[in-house]
Symmetry: C2
Subunit: 205 residues, 2 copies
């Protein structure tokens, strides 16, 4: 890897995942901030040169670009202790990363954005119509996490992997989306284990 | 790997991905069909013993289970010609797999399901409200694919990878979701390249 640049919006959990992965691995990242609320990731320049999908984070390594937060984390962590050596465990880690993007992020992260950035008073009719299903799906995702963690310290195998980092990002700020962790004791204990990792960095660092 | 079982619903593109990957690699899969319309993946037995998330596909290898279609494909293809050896290309392949699950499947596959399994006359108010955004997002995903493939034969690098297999699954039946491929010539040429691969199997095989 050459000089690494993270194209990001700092308050995004998807961007924080990449920073936390880099910090745990001792990798330096240059950070470039985009104001997503002002459309800075939808400009012609961004679409042509950074990500045709108009989203952050994008990890840049020299002249090459990797969109999708979990793919960027996998790139940084390739062949390190954050990715299991065992074939099944490696696939199981990916299972959690895909689950995070399909079942957790579109609900827990989206409601955090709707509450904290848009404001309930400003929700569209469509957002109001979607809210009950997103709330229920987010609660189901957190319940599944809590049940899984009730009998183990980490999501996959016996030690921390990218699965924990990816799920930590939006779970630890789930209350901003209106999700209480009070009745999720296994999740709360696991959040503390992630926060105790050497070289851990908080989201606002 | 020991005896492989695919817990599936055959008409699901997510399940077909796993079958196509296995076929291209010459791996035998025992298939177990579940009627998702009858709730067979939400039974207490399925949730306890196959997938707590209540979804198919789930790949079983001996006593171990891998939910999430793209994770199952990665497990089967680990260290084979379907996954690039180059670190950047490997991450770029994952980028497309995550993009597929976040930007393509929830729109192209969901509208295929709504049209072909539920029927527009039976859509709920919420589905009617969500339709325009899902249609637009699905068109945007297909446009992005077409633009990317306009200058290359395969999504990543110079040869077929799991990224092509994963995106092929729902793209080749996109018309069932109301998406025309008439104006997507690069996509249509790429579909033909996938279909010309040795040991390719169609969805209904």
């Amino acid at each position: 890897m050459s000089d690494l640049v993270l194209h990001e919006y700092a308050a995004s959990g998807n961007c924080y995942k990449v920073r936390l992965t880099a910090a745990l691995l001792g990798l330096a990242l240059e950070r470039r901030e985009y104001d997503i609320m002002a459309g800075e990731t939808r400009t012609a320049d961004f679409l042509a040169n950074v990500n045709a999908n108009g989203r952050i984070p994008v990890l840049q390594d020299g002249a090459r670009f990797i969109p999708e937060s979990n793919a960027a984390c996998c790139y940084l962590a390739d062949s390190t202790w954050l990715i299991p050596e065992d074939r099944f465990d490696r696939a199981d880690m990916l299972r959690w990363l895909f689950w995070e993007q399909y079942n957790h992020e579109p609900n827990v992260a989206t409601l955090r954005f709707w509450h904290g950035w848009i404001g309930e008073a400003n929700w569209s009719e469509l957002q109001r119509a979607q809210f009950p299903a997103k709330k229920a799906a987010g609660e189901a995702a957190l319940a599944l996490l809590d049940e899984h963690l009730a009998t183990r310290d980490w999501l996959v195998g016996d030690s921390v992997t990218l699965a924990d980092i990816a799920l930590y990002a939006y779970t630890h700020v789930a209350e901003g989306g209106g999700f209480s962790l009070t009745d999720r004791p296994a999740v709360r204990a696991w959040l503390k284990r992630v926060e105790a990792l050497p070289d851990y960095v908080p989201m606002d660092a």
